[in-house]
């Protein structure tokens, strides 16, 4: 009923956003690096007591909502929200699941967030309203 490429774009949008949110959550929580035992990159920087405690909890396999930093909560909520919207959207619309488009855009979203974050960290990107370190 709908063109296959439009179907791919509709699925790709959700995949890209989900990948982006996943990438952001990975940056904030640091679960991936801690679990693999490697210590490098921004995920292991000491930012605040709250973030350190959250990391320790995550490394021990416990993710406590109250201990997550504000940005981590937002990312986690956005992730669950997007997944819920995507499932309902695909279930009740003529759009059908295209796994290749979804996985490709998921990876693209994750990479895009990583690139934006690193560029901003190095001062190559400036956020609107300016950055204020706390």
């Amino acid at each position: 009923m709908i063109e296959p490429w439009i179907n791919g774009i509709a699925v790709g949008v959700f995949g890209f956003l989900t990948g982006g949110v996943t990438g952001f959550y990975a940056i904030v929580s640091g679960i991936d690096r801690q679990a693999s035992g490697r210590r490098r990159g921004p995920r292991n920087w000491s930012l605040s007591g709250t973030l350190d405690t959250a990391r320790e909890e995550a490394a021990a396999g416990r993710v406590d909502w109250k201990l997550l930093p504000r940005s981590g909560k937002a990312a986690l909520l956005a992730f669950y929200g997007l997944i819920a919207v995507m499932i309902i959207f695909i279930r009740f619309s003529p759009v059908t699941m295209n796994w290749w488009a979804f996985l490709g855009s998921l990876f693209a979203g994750y990479t895009a967030v990583d690139l934006i974050f690193n560029a901003a960290r190095k001062g190559k990107l400036k956020a609107r309203g300016g950055a204020t370190a706390q």
Partner: protein, 112 residues
């Protein structure tokens, strides 16, 4: 059908994008299973609206249009506009967060 599907999809996409951000913002204020259930309910209502709820079924303006014909342009513009509306604030958050990380890292490196 392009003339109806594209602007309608863009309008509903923009509206849904802003509503999605507002729902997430509201969901951020509280915690607990009841709160998450409410948020999921609102998101379900949002998708129902986006896919053509009562505004489509009861609309006199759209009565003469065939839904199947305008579906492709509608979905295309809906997906793209929704993406843009959600992406812009998300980009700002990541860029601000990265800048803060950079500043903190710089401050830690500068410490004697």
């Amino acid at each position: 059908m392009l003339l109806i599907g594209l602007p309608l999809g863009a309008f509903v996409g923009a509206l849904s994008g802003f509503l999605f951000l507002l729902i997430l913002r509201a969901g951020f204020q509280g915690a607990g299973l009841k709160h998450i259930g409410l948020i999921l309910g609102e998101l379900t209502a949002l998708v129902t609206f986006a896919l053509g709820g009562s505004w489509f079924a009861n609309s006199h303006i759209l009565k003469s249009t065939e839904a199947g014909d305008m579906l492709s342009p509608y979905l295309l513009s809906f997906a793209l506009v929704f993406f843009l509306v959600v992406c812009v604030p998300f980009y700002q958050i990541i860029a601000r967060f990265g800048s803060q990380f950079g500043e903190i890292q710089q401050a830690e490196e500068d410490k004697p």
